[in-house]
Amino acid sequence: MFLTFPIMVIRVNPVEHIVEWRWRNMLLIGVGSFLLSFVWHYFIRRKELGVQKAEGGGDESIPLIQRILTKKAVYRPTLAVIGILILVFPFLFSLYQTNIMISALIYIMLGLGLNIVVGLAGLLDLGYVAFYAVGAYAYALLNYHFGLSFWMVLPIGAALGATFGILLGFPVLRLRGDYLAIVTLGFGEIIRIVLENWNEFSFGPSGIANIPRPSLFGIDLSVHAATIYIYFIMIGLCLFTIFVVNRLQDSRIGRAWIALREDETACQAMGIDKAKTKLTAFALGATWAGMSGVVFAAKTTFVNPASFTIWESIIILCVVVLGGMGSILGVIAGALVLILMPEYLRAFSEFRMLAFGVLLVVMMVFRPGGLIPNVRRTYKFEGVTEPKKG
C-alpha cells in the first residue's frame, strides 16, 4: 500500500501546477491487497492440508482426473463425447475458430515432442523451435525447388528433424542443466540467424510465400475446405503422437529416459548407455517438431524466420511445464490453455505477458507438478510369482 503510494495516490498536475491527492485509490489498493492476501493464505492453507492428507495416505490423495481415468464407466463416455466434439468442431464453428484450433493442435504436438526431451529425459532444451523451423523450411524449400507435395515432405520433415536432433545431441552429450540450456538456446538462434541471412538458400527475412496447402488425392481444395482438411490431418497426427509417446513412456527406452532425468551417474552404473539414450531422446523429440513444422508451413502458406524466435521455444516449454512434465494429458491441457486463452481474450491482449507471468508463478506455488501431473503406472501382483516359487 505504501509502496504504491507515490504512483497511485499523488498525481502532479503540470498544467495547473497543483498536486492531486487521490485518497480513494489508496483505499481501493488497501482493500484489494487485503483480499488478495486473504485468498493467497486460504490457498496456501488448503495446499498444506492437501499435503498432510497425501502423507496420511488414502484414496483422497488420488487426483480427480486420475480417478476418472481409472473408472471405465466414466472414462469411456467422456472419451466418446470428446471424440464427437472433435469431429464436429470445424462444422459447428467458423473458419477463424478452426484456425485457432489448428494452431493449438500444432502446439500440442510440439509440446508432446518437447515433453520427451524435457519431461521424460530431463534435458532442458531452449532451442526446440529450431527443429520446428527445419520442418517448415523443409516443406517450403522442397516444394519450391522440386515441387514435392505435403504428404511426401511430411516424413522427410520428420527425418530431417530427427537428423538435426542428433546433430545437436552430439556436442551436448556431456552437458547438463544450465549449460545444456544455454547451448540449445544458442543452437536455436543459429538456425534462425542462418535462415535470416543466407539469402540464396532461404530467401532471407522476406521468407517464402505461396506454399501450397495439402491436397486431397490430387484435388486442390478451397481455402475453407483445406483448413478443415488440415484440422483433421492435425487431429490424426496428434492422435498418432499421443499413441507413440504413450507407448514409449512405458517401455524400456522410456524408463531409461526417466532414469536419466533422475540420476545420470546411477543410471549409467545400472548399465544404461547414456549417450545413446540422450541421442534417442533428442532425435525422437525433434521428429515431432519437424512434422509439425511441415503442417505449420502448409497452414500459413508462408514461412519466414520471424516465426521461429526464442519466444516460440519458451512458449512450448511453458506448455510442458504448465501442463505437467512428463504427462501427456497435462501437455494437452497446457497447450489448450496457453494457446486458446490469449486468442479468446484478445480484448486484454496488452496484459497477456502479465497474465502469463502471474499464471506461471501461481502454478509453481500451488501445483508445482503442473495442471495434470504425471502418475506412474502401478502393477498388481496376485499370484504372479507363486508358480515360480513352487
Partner: protein, 263 residues
Amino acid sequence: MEPVLNVQDLGMNFGGLRALDAVDLDVGKNEIVALIGPNGAGKTTFFNCITGIYAPTEGDVLIFPQGKDRPKRINGLKPNKVTEKGLARTFQNIRLFPNMTVLENVMIGRHCRMRAGILGAVLRGGSTMREERAAVEDSYTILEKIGLDPFVNEFAKNLPYGAQRRLEIARAMATEPFLLLLDEPAAGMNPNETRDLDELIKRIRDEEGISILLIEHDMKLVMSLSDRIFVVDYGRKIAQGTPEEIRNNPAVIKAYLGEETDA
C-alpha cells in the same frame, strides 16, 4: 580358489594428488571380501576405478566371467559396459531414482539384459511384450527376496532409509552380476537393520552365488561377514588377510588408532 576379480597395481592420480598407489586386490568365487580404511583412504576411488566412473591411471582390472577361461581387462570401459560384463554396484550416498516406483527402479537394472528398441516399444510386438512381462516378474521376484515386495508401487523417495539401502542392492542384483560391489551398505543404519543386512548379504552370496566386495566402516559387520579383508590407507594397501589376522595387525591398528607413544 577360482578368482572372479583381480586388480593389479591399480594407480589413480587426480592432477598431483596420488589417490591410489599400486593397490592389489582379488575376490574369489562365492567370497565376501571387505575393503576397509580410514576416511579419505581411497576406498570409494577404488570402486570408481573398477566400475568405470574413473579411468585408472595405471594398473589392470581383470575379471573372470563364468564359462570363459581367459580373463577380461575392463579398465577404461564405460560404466554401463562394466555393468553389462557383470559387475554391479551400490553407492555410498543413496542414488536411487526418487520419482520412479520401487519396481521401476529394479526394472532399470534389467535394462541392459533387455533388447527392445524404439520400434519394438511403439509396435509392442510379441517378443517385446514377453520381454517386458518377464522383466516385471523377475524384478518382483528380486524384490521378494530382498523383502521389499510390500513397497512395489511406492515411489522410491517415500521409502524408509533402510529400505532405500536395500532397494539399491535389489537394483544392482537385477543386472545379473557375478560380483556385487557395495559401498558402505550399513551407513546410517540402526543395529537391527545392520543385523538384517548381515543376513541379507550372506543370503545373496549363498543363494545367488554372487561374490561380494564391500566397503564398510561398521567393524562388527565387517568381521562377521568377511572371508578376507583388505586395508588401505593414504591410497596404499597396508594389510590383507582374514578378520583374525587383520584384528591383530599392528599396521592396521596404527592406521586406525594412531601410534602408541609410551615407550
